[in-house]
């Protein structure tokens, strides 16, 4: 009764599962994971350097906002990564739960921290940016608000997992909440949007330059790629730590 992945009830499923299990057994993956890390870490470092250079020295000064706008090169990719990683996290968690693949669940835990971090960065850079542009550290703009809530979702997930000390249970519980969360994310965004348009008074439209200078766009894209590679590297790193910790736990 404890196992909740309905799939295990089909005859034969057990065998397939146990194969999966062997195939995706953490110890087997451990060395591979470690070998992969530098392949993502180094390129991301290079791209960061490049992106920041282009963004802060090559890209032209914005005629409206002056140089403040350059925060965008960190802010926007961070915001996007934040959202993306949440979806990924839920995916990994659910798969790990349904098919009982430990690595997948560990992956979810690893993703949660990085995702939360990016979201936090987008919040911080956002409000850094908001001060000069909107004259306030914080504005209840729809996008900002929903990002904030996304951050809370991350926090809930992390809090739950850290507070449960049996790893298997933590994985499964996390999967449930991640699944519920990811279903809710669109509804939340929608509701916040509705709320924001309900009180037009408060909405601050983020003024969109009609044409972003190509160098700006380039810088943005480079930074985006850099963040991508960075996340992969960091997540793999965290994954290997988690594996090490848990396997060690099981050996001891």
């Amino acid at each position: 009764m404890g196992r909740s992945g309905g799939n295990t009830d089909f005859p034969g499923m057990k065998r397939i599962m146990s194969n999966w299990y062997k195939f995706a057994s953490p110890p087997a993956l451990y060395p591979l994971v470690n070998r992969l890390i530098p392949w993502f870490a180094i390129p991301s470092a290079i791209l960061f350097a490049a992106g920041l250079y282009v963004g802060f020295f090559v890209a032209p000064t914005d005629f409206q906002q002056g140089d403040v706008y350059r925060v965008l090169f960190i802010h926007v990719p961070a915001a996007w990564m934040g959202m993306l990683l949440y979806v990924l996290m839920s995916l990994y968690a659910s798969v790990g739960w349904a098919y009982n693949i430990r690595v997948s669940s560990m992956m979810a835990s690893a993703l949660s921290i990085t995702g939360a971090l990016f979201t936090l960065i987008s919040l911080l850079t956002g409000s850094l940016w908001g001060k000069p542009t909107w004259g306030a550290w914080w504005v209840w703009d729809a996008r900002m608000t929903s990002t904030l809530i996304l951050f809370f979702l991350y926090v809930g997930f992390i809090a739950l997992q850290t507070s449960i000390d049996d790893p298997r249970r933590a994985d499964r519980a996390g999967a449930v909440i991640a699944a519920v969360g990811v279903v809710n994310v669109p509804i939340i965004y929608m509701s916040v949007g509705w709320w924001n348009t309900l009180h037009q008074g408060a909405t601050i439209r983020i003024v969109q330059e009609s044409t972003i200078a190509p160098t700006m766009l380039a810088a943005l894209l480079i930074m985006l790629a850099a963040c991508w590679l960075y996340s992969v590297a960091v997540v793999l790193g965290r994954l290997s730590c988690i594996i090490a910790e848990r396997e060690h736990l099981e050996i001891a």
Binding site: S4, G156, S163, I164, V176, N184, I188, W194
Partner: protein, 214 residues
């Protein structure tokens, strides 16, 4: 066997209501809490009627949310602590039915009383009868959502220390849509949120309980 489910379900409801009745204290403190929070705001700010009316919906909704939070993480925790959750799980009834029964009972006790008292509190904020009616409706549809989401949170944090708070953490962000729509006075949208919650939340909670006892 199936024939019996009705009987068992009746016993479950009877149990829950009886317990709620014996624990009047919890019920009352939830209500008292609700009333105090709601009455506090007019006290803590300049009594300008327009201002008050504009925050009424929000204050009532958030307070309702909090009042439900206060009690509900104990929904399963008590039964878990004294071992009767084991017994509930081992009844021939599917666990989902048990969850539904417990949440229903919660709604019939705390939920209803919160809803009934709200119009009175609305008066403090000089709500028009029309606004009041709308608010009551939105609460009537919204509070079940809050209860169901709380059930999931409570189930996930069974036996976890500080479970109550963590449950709150998990649940609060999920409550945003119903909060926004409800406080915004859009009853139909609240209903739209309720429907899927009614369908999925009990299963999620049941799964969560299984996981927690693993």
């Amino acid at each position: 066997m199936k024939a019996n489910h009705a009987v068992m379900f009746r016993w479950l409801i009877r149990r829950e209501v009886l317990l709620a009745w014996r624990r009047k204290a919890d019920l009352f403190s939830a209500l008292a809490f609700y009333i105090i929070i709601v009455s506090l705001f007019p006290l803590s700010m300049d009594p300008d009627s327009r201002l008050l009316r504009s925050i009424a919906g929000g204050v009532l909704w958030v307070s309702a949310l909090l009042a439900t939070m206060l009690g509900f993480h104990r929904m399963f925790a008590n039964d878990f602590a004294d071992g009767s959750l084991d017994q509930l799980i081992l009844t021939p009834q599917p666990l989902v039915l048990t969850v539904i029964g417990k949440t229903a009972a919660q709604f019939l006790t705390i939920g209803i009383s919160l809803i009934l008292i709200s119009p009175l509190l609305g008066l403090q904020y000089g709500l028009t009868p029309n606004d009041t009616r709308q608010l009551a409706w939105s609460l009537l549809l919204g509070i079940p959502v809050l209860i169901l989401l709380n059930a999931v949170g409570a189930a996930l944090t069974l036996g976890v220390h500080g479970g109550g708070l963590i449950a709150a953490l998990i649940v609060l962000p999920l409550c945003v849509p119903s909060l926004v729509f409800g406080a915004g006075g859009n009853v139909s949208l609240v209903g739209a949120v309720l429907a899927p919650t009614l369908v999925f939340a009990p299963w999620a909670a049941a799964a969560a309980i299984r996981i927690s006892l693993g």
